[in-house]
């Protein structure tokens, strides 16, 4: 015998199961990537980098950018030393 039909004619359990399904459906919907995320990923954007940046203050973002720029400069100097332009 189906256990569900032993409680209030089956409606009670069906109601719970339907509610649980709705909750799960909503959760799944929340984790689906948005159009902006999909487009960004297709364009090669590293979403994690953006998320890390958004945790920083404006000043920290500028200082981090400055450090990245310094590194690029160092790499360019190293390249020039290794492969001097004739």
């Amino acid at each position: 015998m189906d256990l569900r039909w032993t409680l209030q004619g089956g409606n009670f359990i069906d109601g719970i199961l339907n509610a649980m399904t709705d909750v799960i459906r909503d959760k799944v919907k929340q984790t689906e990537p948005s159009d902006a995320e999909l487009e960004a990923v297709q364009f090669g954007v590293d979403i994690n980098l953006i998320e890390c940046n958004l945790l920083l203050s404006h000043e920290e973002r500028i200082l981090q950018h400055e450090a990245a720029l310094d590194l690029v400069q160092e790499l360019l100097i190293a390249r020039e030393a290794r492969y001097p332009r004739s």
């Binding site: 948005s34 902006a36 995320e37 487009e39 960004a40 364009f43 090669g44 954007v45 590293d46 979403i47 980098l49 953006i50 998320e51 940046n53 958004l54 203050s57 404006h58 000043e59 973002r61 500028i62 950018h65 990245a68 720029l69 690029v72």
Partner: protein
Amino acid sequence: MLKVFIDAKMDFVIVGGFAGVLHGSSMVTKDLDLCFLLSLDNVEQLRSALRAFHPKLRMTPQKLSFLEFPEDARQLKNLYLETDLGIVDIIREVTGVGDFQRVADRAVVVELFKQSVKVMCLEDLIAAKQALGRAKDLAMVKELRLIQERQR
């Protein structure tokens, strides 16, 4: 470089790649783009702020000194400078958005080095980058749209 302008307490709006960085973009940009009202007074203030960093007009073949040229600053539309601290482009208006007043009115104010600084708003920056349409600008648009979505 940015700190020089902030310390000089001039009225400007950070636009371009640096504005993108301030909004959270991960892209590294070499040149600083600022939107200014290029009045005679402001040009003099700019000369004074940049004097120690040997500003040159980088679009002139002889790389003329900005401290001396142009003699008549009224004819200035934009300033493309090369300094000891790096490249800075000073523009009167932003393609796809509008002039200094329009950009400044819609700018967001952020705290940088203990001072309030105007930064082009996200919507305007997206419009500007789209109007430029180069591959690197469109890549930043993708990042900025994502940031815009995260802020909602």
